[in-house]
């Protein structure tokens, strides 16, 4: 198999539409040809990026309603089956009660899988990545006046963080990171021997929770625990903030108060 032939088949093998004997020949070629193996890796990574990270735009509800109205009968309900007519009288009140109970449950039991759950998970994972990194900081702190200008040209937004750090929460430095599908400014504070990660990112297009929020100073925040870490997420204008650490929750809330009071 030549390199040209091999490269023509790279997408076919990814899509699982290559017969076994051709796949075998391709695998043999890739094992022997470093250049084509590189191409195969790049193509696989491109597919992974497209499938996993390319934003998907859902049709607005108003458009869907207009479309349904345009196509006669498309949104009409199916005629009720005969068995339903008999059971309807008993089932409808029972189902209504069930729906009410389900709606009331989150008031009594804190949820770990609400709309903001992926955001909390990502924030905690970012904190864990930072903890395990050999070189977590791109810039060591000489104070916020030195760290913040460092982000200029590295992000597509200006991170607004006016708390300069103090003796209780000294600022250790910053780095450029990633939060879900976007870049983030990462600020690292310390609380005694504990690391506190603050992520600042563009807030638009994220599944911010609207219920179960708490007022901390001037902001309304989601306060939660995940994998043993405390996480507090809030948004101010166009920016989102996520603060994660294993310090006690009251300490973390105090830091949010400092950040929010001066932001």
């Amino acid at each position: 198999m030549t390199c040209d032939e091999a490269r023509e088949l790279l997408l076919d093998v990814q899509r699982g539409r290559l017969p076994a004997e051709r796949r075998g020949a391709l695998e043999s070629h890739l094992a022997a040809c470093e250049a084509c193996a590189h191409e195969a890796a790049a193509e696989a990574l491109l597919s992974e990026a497209l499938e996993g990270r390319l934003p998907q735009h859902a049709a607005p509800l108003a458009l869907k309603r207009r479309l349904a109205a345009t196509w006669p009968g498309a949104s009409a309900a199916e005629p009720a089956p005969r068995w339903w007519a008999g059971w309807r009288r008993a089932l409808v009140p029972a189902l209504a009660l069930g729906v009410l109970l389900l709606a009331a449950l989150p008031l009594y039991y804190p949820r770990s899988d609400g709309p903001g759950a992926p955001m909390v998970t990502e924030a905690v994972n970012d904190h864990l990545r930072l903890l395990s990194s050999q070189h977590p900081l791109d810039i060591e702190s000489g104070g916020m006046h030195q760290v913040k200008p460092w982000f200029e040209g590295r992000l597509d937004f200006a991170p607004v963080v006016r708390f300069l750090g103090d003796d209780d929460f000294p600022l250790r430095g910053g780095a450029v990171g990633y939060y879900l599908d976007r870049k983030a400014a990462v600020f690292v504070f310390h609380r005694r021997l504990h690391v506190v990660t603050l992520l600042v990112f563009r807030a638009d297009g994220l599944p911010w929770p609207s219920r179960g929020l708490e007022h901390i100073g001037a902001v309304t925040a989601q306060v939660t625990t995940s994998k043993g870490f405390n996480a507090i997420l809030w948004r101010e204008g166009e920016l989102g903030y996520a603060l994660v650490s294993d310090v006690d929750l009251p300490d973390l809330v105090r830091l949010v108060g400092k950040l929010a009071a001066t932001a």
């Binding site: 990270r53 934003p55 735009h57 196509w71 976007r182």
Partner: protein
């Protein structure tokens, strides 16, 4: 085939058209997503999808039950885009799909270094960078990449864009090479 939709059509035909409509509406998100990437504008995308469904409704007699409805709707959407939007507002961007050539076999040491950087870059690239890179490609390139991403086979993509299956293969290969080139540019 289903008869062209007409308010006075027989009850059975009307039921078929309504059933097709329900199935077609299930693709609203997918069609809107493609429309967003073609028009690069939420408002234009809404108009394009609405026009697509209007055209599909009036051409419902041309759809053969049992064939791929999704591909049929994609074809209508793309043809509508080409006839209404492309020339009015968004010309294909610089470079053009056909000017991009996939990396030739037989690399030199310097290209190996670039290759390593490329793999590293592809692992770290974020959604908005991919979106920006994709948006900068020609309409033809964006279309084949997105249709392939939607899981359409090469035969179905060929039906949507109206070309030979072999042409789809080479277009897709060049489009992906162009996208990788754009993503490589961002890392420089």
């Amino acid at each position: 085939m289903i008869g062209a939709y007409d308010p006075g059509m027989a009850g059975e035909q009307r039921a078929d058209a309504a059933a097709l409509g329900r199935e077609a509406l299930a693709y609203a998100d997918t069609l809107y997503n493609l429309a967003r990437y073609l028009t690069r504008s939420p408002t234009d995308a809404e108009d394009l999808v609405q026009e697509t469904y209007a055209r599909a409704l009036s051409a419902v007699h041309q759809f053969t039950p049992g064939t791929n409805l999704k591909a049929w709707l994609f074809r209508i959407l793309r043809n509508t885009f080409l006839s209404q939007y492309r020339h009015e507002r968004h010309n294909p961007t610089v470079g053009g799909l056909d000017t991009v050539v996939a990396v030739a076999p037989g690399t030199e040491p310097a290209q190996w270094l670039l290759g390593d950087l490329e793999l590293d870059r592809l692992r770290k690239v974020v959604g908005e960078e991919i979106e920006r890179a994709l948006a900068s490609l020609s309409e033809e390139a964006r279309t084949v990449i997105l249709l392939d991403l939607e899981g359409l086979t090469e035969v179905e993509v060929a039906q949507v864009v109206g070309c030979a299956v072999g042409t789809v293969k080479s277009r897709l290969s060049r489009a992906r090479a162009a996208l990788r080139e754009k993503l490589r540019d961002y890392s420089r």
